[in-house]
Amino acid sequence: MGSLTPAEGAADSGFLTTKMDALVNWGRKNSLWPMPLGLSCCGIELMAMIGPKFDIARFGAEAARFSPRQCDVMIVAGTLTWKMARAARTVYDQMPEPKWVIAMGVCSSTGGMYDSYAVVQGIDSILPVDVYVPGCPPRPDAVIDALMKLQKQIERESPTRQIMGTDRDQDERGTGTSEYQPNVTVDATDLDHHPHDPRSVRRETAR
């Protein structure tokens, strides 16, 4: 319960908002349900992480479900090919908000050693990634570290602002304005804008 601290930079937001944010974030970050998208060898390390030896139940994230409808954090573990990209994007879209993405391993982070016609050169070109985990494959400890970093990120989000409608320009993560809306957005050529994605292109269209 030591983590019930107000969100950073929320001094002006008022008592109800900050306490509500802290409570919601506390609940969210300690009950992350992973969507294990095990695409190649990283999936083996992912299984080890979920299993009893490394035991992500300690972080409230042991409930791995193979149904995107019940998941919060998608862990893309392995080499994503362009043929598989549609399925990965569909799985992501089927997950209910709020949702986060961990790119596990160099293949999903950058394409890795597969500098190839078949492989997506970094899943951030089709999905908004929150945490990247290097390694080939990364040890389960590294992915647990990513999970803890994601928990810290969730602590800083401001869900109440969006729910209360006081600041609609803030996205749910509280990190800035975002036009990011899966399924609804964007002209054909634009990438989705995402505040954490350095490669994303913000649209300059008037609202």
């Binding site: 043929k83 190839s116 016609y117 078949a118 070109s125 089709i126 399924n183 609804v184 957005t185 054909a188």
Partner: protein, 177 residues
């Protein structure tokens, strides 16, 4: 115990002279006693395969692939390798395609398992197999339009994102409608 070369020669010297296959080069590439390489004319390929299967004990097809000699012409060769389980040896058939040809006859009627190898060969080299009932791509997504193992294909691909982006665009269009 007969060697692979002897059995290949015996099988291909068919008893009907009309369909007999000229095999002066049978042993030209006999690089070991367990694998013989022969060259077969394109229109005799299927007949040679059936003779080797029925008469020489080459009952299994190990692989079917192609070689791209680009920029040399003629460009493509199709390679079939057969295996004789009872003898433990192999025969490799090379079929040169002429300049404008990108098709050979299928051997799915002899080995139904050859269908996937022929599909992969079509996917990677763009060589069609006449008689294959299901001549679709195997590994690359349907509609990709290029053949990655051709020598003039860049290793990073030609527009690898195109199909995904088109799909993404349609999906967003449907979501808006």
């Amino acid at each position: 115990m007969s060697t692979a070369a002897e059995r290949v020669r015996a099988a291909l010297k068919a008893d009907d002279p009309v369909n007999a296959i000229e095999i002066p080069e049978v042993e030209a590439r006999d690089h070991s006693d367990t694998c013989v390489t022969i060259e077969v004319a394109r229109d005799r390929l299927h007949h040679a395969l059936s003779l080797l299967k029925e008469r020489a004990g080459f009952e299994a097809v190990s692989f079917i692939t192609a070689v791209d000699r680009h920029p040399a012409t003629p460009r493509f060769e199709v390679v079939h390798q057969l295996w004789a389980p009872a003898y433990g040896d192999r025969v490799r058939l090379r079929t040169r395609l002429l300049d404008d040809q990108t098709s050979v006859s299928s051997c799915t009627d002899l080995w139904s398992g050859a269908a996937f190898m022929e599909r992969e060969c079509f996917d990677m080299f763009g060589i069609t197999f006449d008689g294959n009932p299901d001549m679709r791509r195997l590994l690359m997504p349907e509609g990709y339009g290029h053949h990655p193992l051709r020598k003039d294909f860049p290793h990073r691909g030609i527009d690898p994102e195109r199909l995904y982006r088109e799909w993404d665009q349609n999906r967003r269009g449907e979501a808006l409608a």
